[in-house]
């Protein structure tokens, strides 16, 4: 697995999301400073709304799962597994993410390859 440096931590917005282009894929990156994992990365594409918007959703928790709510139709996507809480069949690609020496790294390929319509 290779890592993609998307710049310094200043690019992230605490408790919110930004979008990066990694290997020609739009990746939504969420930064939760209080969480031990701190950064979460999933595909930016909302397969239900069919638009690249997930980085602009509100993050939160539903039944102890960290989620982002799509800003279009409010379906929840788990930041750790990519599953859609409202539509079991949908799993978003999830990317590995880490912060090292003040820079943010995203894996160049998703963790699990899933078929997303």
């Amino acid at each position: 697995m290779s890592w993609h440096n998307i710049g310094t931590i200043d690019n992230l917005v605490a408790n919110s999301g930004v979008c990066a282009l990694v290997n020609n894929q739009q990746v939504a990156i969420f930064y939760i400073p209080q969480n031990p994992t701190a950064v979460f990365a999933i595909s930016n594409y909302d397969p239900i709304g069919k638009a690249n918007v997930l980085s602009r959703g509100i993050i939160g928790s539903i039944d102890n799962k960290l989620v982002v709510a799509s800003p279009l139709y409010k379906q929840h996507f788990c930041l750790e597994t990519g599953e859609c809480l409202e539509a079991e069949a949908i799993h978003l690609p999830v990317f590995n993410a880490k912060i090292e020496d003040g820079s943010v790294f995203i894996s160049s390929e998703p963790k699990v390859t899933t078929t997303v319509a």
């Binding site: 998307i6 605490a14 282009l21 709304g49 602009r56 959703g57 509100i58 800003p71 139709y73």
Partner: protein
């Protein structure tokens, strides 16, 4: 075996004592031991304030050591329990004594809640609960001239009586807009306030104490959140009680989320050998702060321990009492929450009494009553309710001196055929069906019927239908914001104000759980914005906003945004029109005239927003707040300036009003309109605030709505001059902001407002709650601190950074693609996108993009 059982009781309040008596009565041989924390044995707390009438502690005592000796009860006073060993069945006290038990009874009662106000821990800041507290109050009163009770509930007024009897200049400060909000309705609360004030106690409602500091003329100064203050020598907190459930914690018993030791119908805790009774016990998620249910639990517990089968099945919380000499009664559903119930009101301004009875839908059963000033009908009414008796044909005779007068009816619910969710075509009948089929909360009704899972526009209506249905089936309905906060929007607003909370994280840590969600975050963001008027994009608030608020624009289906500059009153100069046209051309935006008399520009990419706004602001435009839960537009007709029929300058007024309220954050968006004559070309009666010109001034209409569930606005006041008009609008809107639920439009707010239009009139016109000064002052503060959010955003050095599509690349979103239709752009369909990608056709918009990329760079 049964006869020699060791029964240990912790707590010797009224309920603990009642248990001892009941237990001894049903089991003459039981080995009964009582541990009592206070120095005094059980006394009558209900009449605590009579000590200041000259009664002594001995007069209040319910028992004596001699009495307990006769009953063969072992009793130890001033004994505080430190540990409970459930395995060994032994209780250890602070002084190290050990008491074994077979059955343990927790009757530890409650303690007064002291709100977390800065400075609340000084000498002469006291509570009112025990005989010891009274001694302290007496000592403090001896060196004080004035006293304030914080809390205008039942106990607070009792406490006020106490310090009034000690000769102090007495004040009551209540956070809610009325006294005794739990037991009384708004009108009853208002009458009670008037009567109490006549007796020399000053009442301050809708006041949130923010801190207690050193006073200038008295010992303390209470600073209120509305910038006013009150000076006093003595402060008595009586802001409710909390269950004393510490021992439940120590013994690792199951506790309620918000305190209280959970018990079953047998009064058993999660350990069957430990029972809890009285105010420390939580039954069916309810605490009972009255003595009667506590006694009932004591009887149940005694019955259980002596082989009986009594069960505790809840309690009627009706009350009748005399507060500061004023008779007050509250029976059953005093707030008329039962769906389809009817109210009958008798009000006598001369004798100063108010009586309301709440009747079942058919008018044949009594559901509740509110009585202030005269409780002589209380017992009869209570019997009707408790026994579910049929009412006489003219139920008004129960409260009227002589019968007559028609009952006033409350609005009836929607018919089953009414469509609730038009996205998924779900009718009210479908929702009722889902609930009948086992759905018992909003989430499961949603997933079962799909209602509100489309555009979401019906969410508030759906919630109200579901709540009503559940309530009518006896399910306890909560108005909690979401799973993260067990509070309503209004409660959260109170906390934010009272505790001066300025951030979501702070509120979540203190009163919430989890990480929040897309429901509570924007709701709290709106509360913080309308309370502190902070710029909504301060770093601490960014994550709370919907994308529309974050990027100050409205997201469209393809992830692009629309841009709406403010065109106040719909009036625009040719030059400004040209600027809008030129900007739209330069950025290839789709143009549409909106219903609110302005122009919407569609198809802007995220990174284009700051550049577009720079151009618009330069030309003198400001944000139209089309993205916010705030004022949209003030629509107007052309008015007397041009129109042959117009009688007032509707455009001029619309502009003035739009500029006054622009940017104000509210529970939901709101719209206004001004018509220049009775022909009503501006359609003002379909707006939240509608203004129609008359020969003599303005008629004001409130709480109308167009859209999904149209509602004609109610005529609020007639022939107003302009300053009075503005004053009333200030008050109505601010009262709405302070009391509405999240995402509740003014129309729904009005329908759910206790007392409806008349009540709103009394609050706004007659200042019945005494809060109008505060409402106006808050509005003034907010109008004075207005700033255009887009101007702020583009002036900020990292505006360009914030609006980039990618943090690590200048490229744009290749999924936003347009095609031409009727000489303008529209989003490409999925099929058209595939085709465009295949043929690699670069459409005109991409050229503009590259130019703009240069500007951004």
């Amino acid at each position: 075996m049964q006869t020699s059982q060791k029964i240990l009781i912790i707590g010797n309040g009224m309920v603990g004592h009642h248990f001892v008596e009941q237990m001894r009565q049903s089991d003459a041989n039981a080995d009964i031991t009582v541990l009592c924390g206070e120095a005094n044995l059980a006394y009558d707390r209900v009449y605590l304030s009579s000590v200041f009438d000259g009664k002594t502690a001995a007069d209040l005592a319910l028992t004596t050591h001699d009495n307990y000796k006769t009953l063969n009860i072992n009793v130890h006073t001033s004994q505080w329990v430190e540990g409970i060993d459930r395995t060994a069945k032994v209780v250890t006290t602070l002084t190290g004594e050990q008491y074994p038990y077979d059955k343990l009874i927790l009757a530890t009662g409650s303690f007064p809640f002291v709100p977390p106000i800065k400075g609340n821990d000084q000498p002469h800041c006291l509570v009112y609960r025990t005989l010891e507290d009274l001694e302290q109050i007496k000592a403090s009163a001896a060196v004080s001239k004035s006293g304030v009770v914080i809390g205008g509930g039942l106990l607070g007024l009792e406490a006020a009586n106490a310090i009034k009897q000690l000769g102090l200049d007495t004040h009551v400060v209540e956070f809610a807009p009325q006294l005794m909000a739990v037991q009384l309705d708004g009108q009853g609360g208002t009458l009670l306030k008037n009567k109490i004030e006549k007796l020399g106690v000053t009442v301050h409602t809708s006041k949130a104490t923010s801190e207690i500091v050193k006073g200038e003329t008295s010992r303390f100064r209470l600073n209120f959140s509305d910038e006013t203050f009150l000076e006093t020598d003595l402060i008595l907190f009586s802001a409710g009680i909390r269950p004393y459930d510490q021992l439940g914690k120590i013994a690792d018993l199951e506790l309620g989320e918000r305190g209280g030791i959970i018990i079953n119908n047998q009064c058993q805790t999660s350990d069957p050998d430990i029972l809890a009774i009285g105010e420390c016990a939580l039954w069916d998620k309810k605490l009972f702060g009255l003595v009667a249910p506590g006694y009932n639990m004591a009887r149940v517990a005694a019955s259980q321990l002596s082989g009986g089968e009594l069960e505790f099945l809840g309690a009627d919380m009706s009350t009748k009492l005399k507060l500061l000499g004023v008779e007050v009664g509250s029976i059953g559903d005093a707030h008329a929450k039962t769906p389809d119930c009817k109210e009958l009101i008798y009000q006598d301004a001369i004798r100063g009494c108010y009586k309301k009875i709440i009747l079942s839908e058919k008018g044949d059963k009594l559901l509740g009553a509110v009585l202030v000033g005269d409780t002589s009908d209380y017992d009869t009414l209570l019997q009707y309710m408790l026994n579910d008796m049929d009412l006489p044909e003219n139920p008004e005779c129960l409260i009227l001196p002589d019968s007559g007068g028609a009952p006033s009816l409350s609005g009836s619910a929607l018919p089953d055929t009414a469509t609730i969710c038009s996205c998924h075509n779900v009718s009210k009948g479908d929702i009722v069906g889902a609930i009948d089929g086992g759905s018992c909360d909003l989430a499961s009704v949603k997933s079962c019927t799909k209602a509100a899972s489309g555009c979401g526009g019906c969410a508030a209506l759906l919630k109200s239908v579901v709540d009503n249905e559940l309530a009518s089936r006896g399910v306890e309905v909560n108005n909690h914001v979401c799973e993260h906060f067990a509070y309503s929007r209004q409660e959260l607003l109170h906390m934010v104000k009272v505790e001066s909370i300025k951030s979501f994280d702070d509120l979540l840590t203190k009163h919430g759980s989890g990480h929040g969600c897309e429901i509570c975050k924007p709701a709290i963001g709106s509360i913080l914005a309308s309370t502190w008027n902070d710029f909504i994009l301060e770093p601490a608030h960014v994550g709370l906003q919907d994308t529309n608020d974050t990027y100050l624009a409205n997201m469209q289906k393809d992830g692009s945004y629309s841009v709406v500059p403010r065109i106040a009153g719909g009036e625009i100069t040719p030059d400004k029109l040209i600027v809008i046209g030129q900007v739209a051309k330069d950025f290839n935006l789709y143009c549409k005239v909106t219903g609110g008399q302005r122009i919407d520009l569609f198809g802007a990419r995220l990174e284009e927003l700051p550049v577009i706004w720079e151009r618009l602001i330069e030309a003198g435009f400001e944000t139209g707040h089309a993205y916010g839960k705030s004022l949209r537009t003030v629509k107007s007709c052309v008015g007397s300036t041009w129109c042959r029929y117009g009688v007032q300058d509707s455009v001029g007024h619309a502009i003035e009003i739009e500029n006054r309220y622009k940017g104000l954050r509210a529970p939901h968006k709101f719209k206004m309109a001004v018509s220049g004559c009775t022909r009503e070309c501006a359609e003002a009666q379909s707006k939240d605030i509608g203004i129609i010109a008359t020969e003599n001034g303005w008629n004001l209409y409130v709480c109308g709505n167009g859209g999904m569930r149209p509602r004609h606005a109610d005529l609020f006041a007639t022939d107003l001059d302009t300053p009075t008009l503005i004053k009333y609008i200030d008050r109505v809107i601010m009262f709405y902001i302070k009391t509405a639920d999240k995402l509740q439009r003014t129309s729904v707010w009005m329908e759910n407002l206790e007392g409806g239009l008349d009540y709103l009139k009394s609050v706004v016109i007659d200042d019945s709650l005494g809060i109008c000064d505060e409402l106006e002052a808050q509005m003034e503060l907010i109008t004075q601190t207005y700033a255009c959010e887009w101007k702020k955003a583009i002036e900020s050095p990292d505006a360009a950074k914030r609006f980039r599509q990618f943090v690590n690349s200048p490229e744009t979103d290749d999924n936003i693609l347009f095609v031409q239709e009727r000489n303008q752009i529209r989003p490409a369909t999925e099929a058209e996108k595939r085709e465009q990608r295949n043929t690699q056709n670069r459409i005109p918009v991409m050229e503009v993009e590259e130019e703009q990329a240069d500007v951004l760079a």
